[in-house]
Amino acid sequence: MSDPLLTVKNLYKHFDISGGFLDQIGFSGGKFTRTRTLVKAVNNISFELKAGETFSVVGESGCGKSTLGRTIMGLYPPNSGEILYRGDRIDGLDHQRMLPYRKKMQMVFQDPYASLNPRKTIRQALGDPLCYHNPQLNDGEVKDRIDEVMLQVGGDPQWISRMPHEFSGGQRQRISIARALIVDPEFVVADEPISALDVSIQAQILNLMMDLQQQYNLAYLFVAHDLSVVEHLSDRVGVMYLGTMCELSETGILFERPRHPYTQALMSAIPKLTGGASDHMRLKGEVPTPINLPSGCVFHGRCPHVNQRCIDEIPQLCTLNDGRQVACHGVEEGRI
């Protein structure tokens, strides 16, 4: 096995939402107290990503999947843990030392209407990152590169003198992908890149992403909530719940027989085209807030197989015979 392109080790990202000093002051039992409120968005996440691989992170809204993607990109500084790119630590680097890695790691965002500057022509949107990372290029070379990348994403070089509002959602998403590709990245974080698009356009963008991956051996970290899309395009999938990774496995194995109770519930909820009665496994209750995480296994309040150990002890990812990793006491003990 080749060396991993990206390694994430025990990553934590908490957001302090307690506000200013005065907001934190409370008065109870005759004493002033200071309380801090933390949103524990990402807790102890570890995984590896190989070159040319698609790793998908799935989960419901609020499970921390987007935060994970953004923390890896360096858009948020992690609270603790390590992020290694080809063996080099990249978390906590200053701006100058991060620059060479920024060129290798790019991001495609969910909303193609919000992620392109409405006042910049497409030429500026694509040319700016290129010139920033390659100041030695002259105007002719920049133009050639923009034309080249526009053709790669199925666009038209004529587009570059136009403004973002002149394009449809699908075209804008092609332009967003072009902007990510223009600096020749090895690794792209795609945060829900197709969920704002119509079905027939989704297929176009997914095909484009798969073609580009083959051509340039790109590695994708694909953040999504649409499980059928994830199943179609990923090599491996990580399932997140409330900031923790509960199951991580090769796609085929995972979808054939999910083991973690949460994964099972999630998969049973996918609406199937060939309809009929659904075998949906209903979960009790709702997702707790990431401010007060449940003790032990974060899923224990909703799990049908819960026992005392689940309430007391946080389960760690353990590797099963088929190579998948599951964080569940029940699976580990052979109860599930």
Binding site: G170, D198, A203, H232, G252, I270, T274, G275, S278
Partner: protein, 328 residues
Amino acid sequence: MKKLLEVKDLVIKFALRTGEVTATNGVSFTLKKGERLGLVGESGAGKSVTGFSIINLISKPGYIAAGKVDFLGEDLAKIGDEKMRSIRGNRISMIFQDPMMTLNPVLTIGTQMTETLHQHNPQMGKEEARNIALDKLRKVYIPSPEKRLDQYPHEFSGGMRQRIIIAIALLTDPELIIADEPTTALDVTIQAEIMELLIELCETEDMGLILITHDLAVVGQVTQNIAVMYAGSVVEKGPTAQVIAEPQHPYTQGLIAALPQSSRHGERLNQIPGMMPTLKDIPPGCAFNPRCNQVMDICKTETPGLRPGKNGNLAACHLYPPGQEEQG
């Protein structure tokens, strides 16, 4: 079974400063009592506008230019505002996409629910209205409804809010519910719960449901019949299972083939080239002809009406011989 709703040759136009555009061009479908119909299409296909037109919610500059909406013998397209108010939100209810936007954030759930009841029945006592509200909250499985009734919308999660919206829609025991993308803003596990709830309620209360959505899989699970819309027209309709298993119209075929399926992991998806035309420049002939992979000369000049395809589903496509044409 008894006919509940018949939409016939519905034409909705929008008079814009730049000229008039046609949002739906002769849409027809019928709904029997207790039937669940899916109205499917991509954004801009005219599915929401069709749903809104049933309860006369089209606002200026839009208007119903032709056609009728027959609800148990009354033509809702011509009925007038006064009478419409006794039907809208009473005998026909609507559920909207975003549960955050449809509830008033400064009123308790109880106030919002009893308000609806009083609107349609001013004589109703406070106690009675509250009891009906409680009963409906129980029907949509809200735990401890007595306590919840006095809470504000921000105290509920997205899925719970959508349940409350459904409970409000149920208050007046409507005969028809129009649900416009009711699960699009929700997570997949919540979506499954809401869909199960809708099916259950339609069955126990014998309600009709028009489910407007872009998600074919959702329609596949919930509805019995389906109408696929493209650029303002119904291009295919028939029983849901049949339309999904053997789509007749090239657009429906393309749409279903574009969905990722587990059996074809990692393969290229079938894509429909191009995109849906805007209402201003719908091409002559069949609106789908520039994107169709089986296009013929006739498609560029003549608009096909709905006709039976190979399996008896109606499809608006020149691939099938024109028979007992039904305009639509």
